[in-house]
Subunit: 418 residues, 2 copies
């Protein structure tokens, strides 16, 4: 089956200069993927006649659907409308219905209209006028030689409404769209190459209409399965079947699916078990607590935290032994163990987490170079510790420590008998 091919064209100098970030193209990509349209390219051009015309020409050659955002304002630097008229070799004429809608728009907001706004109701003669209820720049739909074009304003909420109310239903009418299904497996604690090695037989055995992609991010690897076919339910079933096959091999690294985050998954595990956690952070400096408390409802399972940045406060607040600090140093398995136990006790929690290390860029030594970090998780039954050897980059070390410590907590929750 031939997939319907789309190209997204974003127009505006402000995008090319990097003054604003193009979230529109990202959002449109997601929506099109959901309905089985394959986005083959995204193009961004500035407010420049030749650049825009050549983008139109190239897109028409490649795609069945061309979605254009931006360049529809009332001022002279907005070129999309006149250039569409030029490209389709048509003139710009008044659309009374559009002028009326724009007039009503201003009236309903008690604002006065300028002559420039009236001109926004003048459109290329051959286009279908698509009302924009949230703004003054109308949507415009064109069809030529089996290619469909839609021009939309760059203001995100206006564009989204036009997409949902008009474009997506219209595409369903014009094209007979294939069905696509995605599912993402979220893993932590294993690198991309190792994971790939672990599941290579399964990957080779995947049916042709199911594709696998590795999406690594800080300390995590996401596995994305994409299935193409005719029946959404059937595709979802097939994907779930493949996940069932691979799951036993990777179960201990999987913390969730699709939009799940590690923090959310931990929250869910703790809530289910009615358990609570507290953290003592030295090198991670509050970031682990921040990750946990960024989840709505975390007060149900988060007792609190301490950031004893110096040895005297490790002793005073969470009862780390001064002998331990003297004999082993702050960055040691012994210290991090006492920190985890101490914070668990201070907050009467079920789980106590701790981090201590050399985040860098200074403070490293031959024995404990920058990036040497100890983490621990104490439970009622056992304590788990781990030594990390991370990077030279302070921020990266803080974030990677946080992922590792949250993953250690996840493992400890799962291994706790109670």
């Amino acid at each position: 089956m031939n997939q319907v091919r789309a190209e997204i064209i974003a127009i505006g100098d402000e995008l090319l200069y990097g003054h604003i970030i193009d979230t529109n193209s990202h959002w449109i990509s997601q929506e099109l993927s959901q309905v089985g349209v394959r986005v083959v390219r995204r193009t961004t051009v500035g407010d420049n006649r030749l650049d825009i015309l050549s983008a139109f020409k190239e897109a028409e050659y490649r795609a069945d659907i061309i979605l254009i955002t931006g360049g529809l304002g009332p001022t002279n630097d907005d070129l999309t409308k006149p250039l569409l008229a030029e490209y389709f070799n048509t003139e710009i004429v008044e659309f009374p219905e559009a002028v009326e809608a724009i007039t009503a728009f201003f009236k309903s907001r008690g604002r006065e209209m300028t002559p420039l706004n009236t001109l926004q109701g003048h459109l290329p003669k051959i286009c279908k006028y698509v009302p924009n209820e949230l703004g003054t720049a109308p949507g415009m739909w064109f069809e030529r030689n089996k290619t469909c074009w839609m021009s939309m304003p760059g203001v995100p909420h206006e564009m989204k409404k036009l997409m949902l109310d008009f474009v997506l239903p219209k595409l369903g009418e014009v094209f007979s769209l294939p069905v696509i299904s995605h599912k993402m497996i979220k893993t932590v604690g294993i690198g991309e190459s190792w994971l790939s090695d672990l599941i290579k037989d399964w990957e080779l055995g995947l049916p042709k209409h199911i594709k696998l992609a590795y999406l690594p991010s800080l300390g995590h690897v996401k596995l994305r399965l994409t299935a193409f076919g005719h029946n959404k339910k059937e595709l979802e079933r097939e994907i779930d079947l493949e996940i069932e096959k691979v799951f036993p091999t990777i179960s201990k690294y999987v913390y969730g699916y699709d939009s799940d985050t590690l923090e959310q998954s931990i929250g869910k595990l703790l809530k289910e078990r009615k358990k609570r956690v507290a953290v003592a952070e030295s090198c991670s400096g509050g970031y682990v607590a921040h990750q946990i408390t960024s989840i709505p409802g975390s007060s149900e399972y988060f007792d609190g935290g301490v950031i004893p940045y110096h040895n005297q406060f490790k002793e005073k607040i969470i009862e780390v032994n001064s002998e331990t600090l003297k004999n082993h140093g702050a960055v040691s398995e012994e210290t991090v163990t006492e920190m985890a136990r101490g914070v668990k006790k201070l907050f009467s929690s079920d789980f106590g987490l701790a981090s201590s290390g050399v985040a860098g860029p200074d403070g490293g030594s031959k024995d404990k170079p920058v990036g040497t970090i100890w983490i621990a998780c104490a439970t009622d039954e056992f304590i788990k510790t781990k030594k990390l050897q991370l990077t030279q980059d302070r921020i990266l070390n803080i974030r990677l420590t946080s992922v590792a410590l949250l993953n250690l907590l996840r493992i400890c929750i799962l291994e706790s008998s109670k």
Copy 2:
């Protein structure tokens, strides 16, 4: 003068499917604009041979500089490297220096290497190998018929380091770029419209070759001055002169320039005065401590923090009076005052910070709706408190609280007599 033209190509199905947002192209656009390179197009293509090759061909026709991100992972769906070799009609050979660097990268992290990782050190024969200190996929530089190409990994921090350390200096060597000078004034504690109103006379009086832009971001507004000309030193002098003129009007909002962050500026102020700070965070959940400790060397002026997420720990650890909590509630000026004093005492610090509020989305009441947040800063001489009425969004509330609390600290440091 002909402007140097650049095209940015981002490669990856995950971008076209909308699974991740392309912040790389945005960042690169900003950096190129800063050095006077005109970005004429941004293109995004998927992991597909023909799409990638045609993007290369079109870009070579249009641009003097082509910057490519993504598609450099060790797995089979990563096509950038083989396709660059195909496009430049060259073979992929071992670069011993690259293999060595990758091996060292794994060694320094105590991780084992897979054969796939070794292959990441095999590169197109005609490219210049550019070491990537933060990851395993090397940068690759090509030159052909006066067009320069750079291929970089899609991982943002790896790409950024390659751009700053290698690409931008290299572009300055290869092309004769026009002279541009930028300076950014960083402000906090005042909104964009208010600031604009305050400085409108100065703005109108700016010389024609100096442009002003307002760049608002979370709780901050940056004022960027850009001067165009022939002599860097002269431009810098002119910009400084303009800043001298406007400074008296906005001095109390200015915390720094260019890459200065609020956290850095506070660190500098504290170090100069040999003062130290501690924080007690309820609604901000560790984020303020994280912001402070993300700065290298912060252990010199950060004593530590406490996150007493529940009332009993506010009483137990930082001595908030149970009567205060009972009479005024946790989210009150009285409680946040005692928290700031209590944490200052616990850590024997010069400044004690505190936050308490309803971060949301739940927990609001009629009197204290979601977004109601109290902050405080205690010093030896005085205490300052402030009530914030923020948004419905939890993460946004946490971040805005952090900016407001750090700004309160900045003001208290400046007003302290000692």
